[in-house]
């Protein structure tokens, strides 16, 4: 196990370096930030001056060399847009994203597994039909619909929760609820599908033949067998959230990493783009490692 983790760390480190190099050069292909920062009327001299200040006149390899040198001394550059260290900007945003993703995914996982397993236990039954129907609608409806309608109804009309912001626990209810819906629908469907195969497998039939009751069969034997694809999909959804929940961040004024990344890409704020990819990529790599380890825990036959 230890060798596995060590090897994995090395491989992931290499991927991270590859990713950063790739992003560094590819992002420079998307144009020069100068005209985006300066007013459209800015003179050619002020443009030239801007490029000089931000080192945009150097050949790209020189720029890369400077960047690599700075990163090695843990300096990730300054955000042009915010005139602050890029890493600081990203970490502030990422702490919000991480909390939001963790809270939401925890709720989603528990709810989707329970409802998915119950739906699978009686395929075609009333509960199955209802759960499938609503989870599919939730998973395929545009998320801003749900967000705006929720604000209009729960905040403006009923006045139960604030429209947006981050101040108190009450502020978190709507964003988490909106963010909950899509992964819930998707994971519920995967749990259900995986459980159906699992319940008809020889393994579960054996347990049943041994006289194990229906509940332990569903929640222990079958579920454990069905968990591998489920965990993978949970990981994929969590990764999506770690990259930022743009709609929720935009609508509810959550200062997360998703909107930061989009703004930085559109504004060609390369230092922030690179720093945020580095942070989110590390989080995603670690999460994927944990998922791979959990395969081995859930299914002892899988060894690395």
């Amino acid at each position: 196990m230890k060798t596995f983790i060590r090897k994995r760390a090395v491989a992931s480190g290499l991927s991270l370096i590859g990713l950063i190099v790739l992003v560094f050069f590819l992002s420079r292909l998307t144009g020069d930030p100068t005209s985006l920062y300066l007013p459209v009327d800015a003179s050619l001299e002020s443009r030239e001056q801007f490029r000089e200040i931000h080192g945009l006149n150097d050949p790209i390899l020189v720029q890369f060399f400077h960047y690599a040198r700075d990163v090695l001394s843990l300096d990730f550059g300054d955000s042009i847009r915010k005139a602050r260290p890029a890493l600081q900007v990203v970490l502030e945003a990422f702490s919000w994203t991480l909390t939001l993703a963790a809270v939401t995914m925890l709720l989603v996982t528990v709810a989707a597994i329970i409802f998915g397993a119950l739906a699978a236990s009686r395929v075609g039954g009333v509960f199955d039909r209802i759960a499938t129907f609503f989870s599919l609608i939730g998973a395929s409806a545009p998320d801003f619909w749900i967000a705006i309608v929720a604000i209009v109804f729960f905040s403006v009309y009923l006045g139960w929760v604030p429209t947006s912001g981050t101040g108190t626990v009450w502020h978190w209810i709507l964003p988490v609820a909106v963010l909950f819906i899509r992964p819930f629908g998707l994971i519920l469907q995967v749990v259900r599908g995986s459980m159906i195969s699992s319940l008809s497998s020889a393994y579960v039939k054996t347990a049943r033949a041994k006289g194990v009751g229906p509940r332990p069969i569903i929640f222990v034997h079958a579920l454990r067998n069905a968990m591998l694809p489920v965990i993978t999909v949970i990981g994929d959804q969590a990764a999506g959230m770690l990259n930022g929940a743009v709609v929720v961040e935009t609508i509810f004024g959550f200062p997360g990493v998703g909107k930061l990344m989009i703004d930085s890409i559109l504004q060609r704020d390369f230092a922030v783009v690179l720093a945020s990819i580095m942070v989110t990529a590390m989080a995603i790599f670690i999460m994927n490692l944990l998922i791979d380890l959990s395969y081995a825990v859930l299914d002892p036959r899988i060894r690395y």
């Binding site: 090897k7 009686r122 395929v123 599919l136 998973a139 469907q189 990259n243 299914d299 899988i302």
Partner: protein, 306 residues
């Protein structure tokens, strides 16, 4: 819940097609889903030919006309958009681009992802490691950045749009396939086939793939909705479908500012996306049962089990 699998009724005298049709008839939800999808496909094929003029003719004075008003003709039964164009006609015409992009992107990512996942799951060490780290990299690469890069390097086109969307969705199929293969590989029947000297190819395609496919299809049907909606956010950047061309996703996002004032602008195209996804999912659930010999009884026994 039946404890034992009843005998599968004899298939003698029934053609395979008729048997499938009977099973479809047995599941009314799947039947409706099938009919809906055929209608969508017909719209996609014929819509642009028949209704293009009607769908693009603007009328600023009749903008945001409310739905369920037949005085202006059948095309306006769902109301009119911000430029006074009939929503129903536009949804029908938009079906072609929408289906092309969504089907293209989902199919590409499913095929590539599943193939890589099979390889990564079945082969050991080096190659597997390389593929999985590649998936990590793609997962961490912001799709928007990829879109902006493609936009700058290549021209905006449906093909490029499909490429961008497909690449970003590969990891989920890849990782899911691999996870299933890791487990299936250790199962009894695969080990048995191995002992009996089956080739790797035979094991992967005959034994493992059919077991992985249902999960992949479940994800793929839901990804349809995701891709349809994601596509519209890329249109915003100028990549892919551009007005006056139209997709459901673009219609949904163009209706966004009107959500609280003229809900129908984004509601109907959104409903089209939901219904398509719902139908695909119901149909894939039905297929999973119909194609699985161990579960086919659920359909062939009809209502007796409910």
């Amino acid at each position: 819940m039946t404890e034992t699998t009843p005998d599968v009724p004899s298939a003698a005298g029934q053609s395979r097609f008729r048997r499938l049709a009977a099973m479809l008839w047995a599941d009314k939800f799947a039947l409706v889903a099938m009919i809906f999808l055929i209608v969508v496909l017909l719209c996609a094929i014929l819509g642009p030919m028949l209704l293009d003029n009607l769908a693009t003719r603007q009328n600023l004075r009749g903008r945001n006309a409310p739905p369920f008003d037949l005085t202006r003709g059948w095309a306006f039964v769902l109301g009119a958009d911000a430029l006074g164009r009939p929503l129903l006609a536009r949804i029908i015409v938009a079906a072609r681009n929408t289906i092309m992009v969504a089907a293209g992107a989902v199919a590409c990512s499913l095929l590539i992802g599943a193939a890589l996942g099979l390889v990564a799951g079945y082969s050991r060490r080096g190659l597997s490691q390389a593929i999985m780290r590649l998936a990590d990299v793609i997962m961490s690469f912001p799709s928007l950045l990829m879109a902006v890069i493609v936009l700058y390097m290549l021209s905006a086109s449906v093909t490029n749009l499909i490429i961008v969307l497909a690449i970003t969705r590969i990891p989920i199929y890849l990782r899911t396939t691999r996870a299933e293969v890791l487990e299936l590989r250790e199962r009894m029947f695969v080990q048995a086939a191995l002992v009996m000297g089956a080739s790797a190819r035979r094991i992967v395609f005959r034994h493992i793939l059919p077991m992985v496919l249902p999960t992949l299809l479940t994800i793929a049907t839901l990804d349809f909705a995701f891709v349809m909606l994601a596509e519209s956010s890329l249109s915003f950047l100028g990549i892919g479908i551009q007005p006056p061309e139209i997709t459901w996703g673009l219609m949904v996002s163009q209706g966004r500012p009107y959500l609280t004032h003229a809900w129908w602008l984004s509601f109907w195209p959104g409903l089209a996306i939901i219904l398509t996804t719902l139908s695909l999912n119901l149909l894939s659930n039905w297929m999973r049962v119909a194609l699985d010999p161990a579960q086919r009884w659920r359909l062939e026994m009809g209502k007796k089990n409910d």
